[in-house]
């Protein structure tokens, strides 16, 4: 078990380094940080001093090592646009994005998985057909349009829910949460649906496809031939086997939610990391962009690790070499 985790972490390191390299290349070669930091008037000596201070006169690999060292400590320099430390900016906005992503993920899973199971089991019922049509519309509707439609109906026409912002937040240490106020919760509803809907339909379609695949297998036929009740065949056997491939993709999808939050945050003016990122792209604020890139990579690598561990828990075939007996 321990060796397994170590192995997976070691495998993740090259991926993180590759992303760090891209980040660094952006940081070092795109635009001219020296010119941006010095402004209009500077002497050659000032310039050389800054270049030296920033370590830009060092060889490439030394610079990369320094960059990586700083990145591990969460130091990404100053934002060109806001002239504040990038880590501070991201830290301020992370809670908003994470709370939104959490609600969207819960929604996508809690609704998507049961719908997928249902449509897989009763593939010809009218409700299944309705769900399938709904899911097709779901994957064809761009996220921002879903947001706009929800705003139009629930904020503009009905006036039930706010159309932008987080509402009132409560500060818990450095973390600002919207879960503890009524207006904060109300503000979460529309963005969560907007962000979660696409993942919901994707998860539903995926679970359905896997379910259909598993229901065709010999061990399901044999389970039926043994006279097991439908409940045991469907939920004991079929669903558990469906989970193995579903876990992987669902894991990646949940990671994607954080990145997809960019669009939702723009529509709802949600003060999260995505909004920060898109504002940075518009003005080529490279330090923020490269920090965000690394952060997303970290999220994905962590999710991959969790997925592997879940796999390990679900599928006994991966536990080869361990003694017989229970878990």
């Amino acid at each position: 078990m321990f060796a397994f985790i170590i192995n997976r972490i070691l495998q993740a390191i090259p991926v993180m380094l590759a992303v760090a390299l891209i980040s660094f290349a952006m940081f070092a070669y795109v635009g001219d940080p020296v010119a941006i930091m010095l402004g209009q008037d500077f002497t050659e000596a000032q310039r050389d001093a800054l270049v030296h201070d920033l370590g830009l006169d060092q060889p490439f690999w030394v610079q990369f090592a320094t960059f990586t060292g700083h990145a591990i400590r969460g130091e990404f320099g100053l934002s060109y646009r806001l002239s504040r430390p990038v880590a501070e900016l991201i830290g301020e906005r992370a809670p908003a994005t994470l709370e939104l992503a959490f609600c969207a993920a819960v929604l996508a899973l809690a609704v998507g998985v049961p719908m997928g199971v249902y449509t897989g089991l009763y593939r010809n019922s009218w409700l299944s057909r309705f769900f399938l049509t709904f899911s097709l519309v779901g994957v064809s509707l761009p996220t921002f349009l879903i947001g706009i439609l929800l705003i139009l109906v629930f904020a503009v026409w009905l006036g039930w829910l706010p159309s932008f912002g987080r509402g009132d937040t409560v500060q818990l240490g450095w973390w600002s949460t919207g879960f503890l106020t009524w207006s904060g919760i109300k503000a979460l509803i529309l963005p969560s649906i907007t962000l979660g809907l696409f993942q919901l339909t994707l998860i539903m379609r995926l679970v359905r496809a896997e379910m259909l695949e598993v229901l065709r297998t010999d061990y399901i036929k044999f389970a039926r031939a043994r006279g097991l009740p439908n409940r045991a065949v469907h939920f004991g056997h079929a669903l558990k086997n469906t989970l193995v491939p579903v876990i992987t993709i669902v894991g990646l999808q949940l990671g994607a939610i954080i990145a997809f939050a960019i669009v939702t945050e723009t529509v709802f003016q949600w003060p999260g990391m995505g909004l920060l990122f898109i504002q940075s792209v518009g003005v080529a604020d490279i330090p923020v962009m490269s920090a965000y890139l690394l952060l997303i990579a970290l999220v994905f690598v962590s999710i991959n690790l969790i997925v592997d561990l879940l796999y390990y828990a679900v599928d006994p075939r991966l536990r080869i070499g361990r003694g017989k007996g229970g878990h």
Binding site: T217, D218, Y219, K221, F222, A223, R224, A225, R226, G227, L228, P229, N230, A232, G236, H237, K240, N241, V244, V314, D315, P316, R317, I320, K324, G325, G326
Partner: protein, 328 residues
């Protein structure tokens, strides 16, 4: 045939598959009985309808396949028209099934013990502890060494032959009266096949279980079955006592099939073979389905399809045994 009432009766069974290019008739006019404790071998080429017959009996035809005509009676009661839930209660409890490939018939995510216990508690009024005890006994019955420890192993921790023994235990653990065994040894190593067949035979004899043994291995049939049915293109070509069919087949097709088995007692230069191939279901010729390949074909064979007729020691669907000069 014995005088006791048959355990299983299949009468004029017809199974159809609707497809875009019209309806395919996978089984047509299939009739046979199995007496309690009897072993009926079913042989034929791939696609002859052997497995389909087994699937129809246990009520697990793959959609869109459906029984279009005929009846299946088990212990005197019709079972082909039962609702899913009623049939479900019969499966495993009254009629067990063994599938071809032990590597795919066990759920890889559950221990063999879990799968045995869930089957036993589904059909028998036992609590989990008693069921587990019963499960260990069954693993011992089927010859799994150190059953008490192996019960908590996962399927992938067993060899192919051992897995098929587990499958047999699963099929028999609620002591059904009939077992439908669909090519139970085809996927196994040759060296293991004999052991598994011997085990199946012994257990069936001990428990008085009747068996429908689907295979294309004539050696297995000769050794195990009491009677044998030869299937061709979705119909029964010949049915009769195993000794008669193997030694003195009356239908030209069964005769050809038997001639293609290598004899054990003497060396031969070349085995006989039947020219041509079995027709596809969508292109079954008029008259007897075997007529294009039959060495003894004559006019009537190309026009009318023969039913099973009395042919000395067996019953054969062949016009050679037609005693009347003309039939309607």
């Amino acid at each position: 045939m014995s005088n006791t009432a048959p355990l299983l009766q299949v009468k004029n069974l017809r199974v159809e598959f609707p497809t875009r290019r019209g309806t395919l008739v996978a089984l047509d006019d299939v009739s046979f009985d199995i007496a309690p404790g009897e072993v009926l071998g079913v042989v034929g080429e791939s696609g002859a309808g052997k497995s389909m017959t087994g699937a129809a009996i246990i009520g697990l035809l793959e959609p869109p396949g459906r029984i279009a005509r005929g009846e299946i009676l088990f212990a005197g009661k019709r079972i082909d028209n039962l609702r899913y839930e009623q049939m479900r209660r019969l499966r495993g409890k009254e009629i067990g099934a063994i599938f071809q490939d032990p590597l795919t018939t066990l759920n890889p995510l559950y221990t063999v013990g879990h799968q045995l216990v869930e089957t036993i508690t589904t059909h028998l009024p036992l609590n989990p502890a008693e069921a587990r005890k019963r499960a260990i006994e069954w693993l011992e019955h089927v010859g799994i060494p150190a059953a008490a420890q192996r019960i908590d192993s996962y399927p992938h921790e067993f060899s192919g032959g051992m897995r098929q023994r587990v499958v047999i235990a699963l099929a028999l653990c609620a002591e059904p009266k009939l077992i439908v065994a669909d090519e139970p040894t085809t996927a196994l190593d040759v060296s293991i096949q004999a052991q598994v067949i011997a085990l199946l035979k012994t257990l069936a004899r001990e428990k008085g279980t009747a068996m429908m043994l689907v295979t294309h291995d004539m050696g297995v049939i000769a050794e195990t079955a009491d009677r044998v049915a030869v299937m061709y293109a979705g119909r029964i070509a010949e049915i009769g006592p195993v000794r008669e069919v193997v030694k003195h087949a009356n239908h030209p097709y069964s005769a050809g099939l038997m001639a293609s088995i290598p004899p054990l007692d003497r060396r031969v230069e070349r085995l006989a073979q039947i020219d041509g191939a079995m027709p596809r279901l969508s292109a079954i010729p008029q008259g007897c389905a075997y007529n294009p390949r039959c060495p003894q074909v004559f006019g009537k064979c190309r026009e009318l399809r023969p039913d099973l007729l009395d042919a000395v020691t067996t019953r054969a669907a062949c016009w050679l045994y037609d005693t009347e000069t003309a039939r309607g």
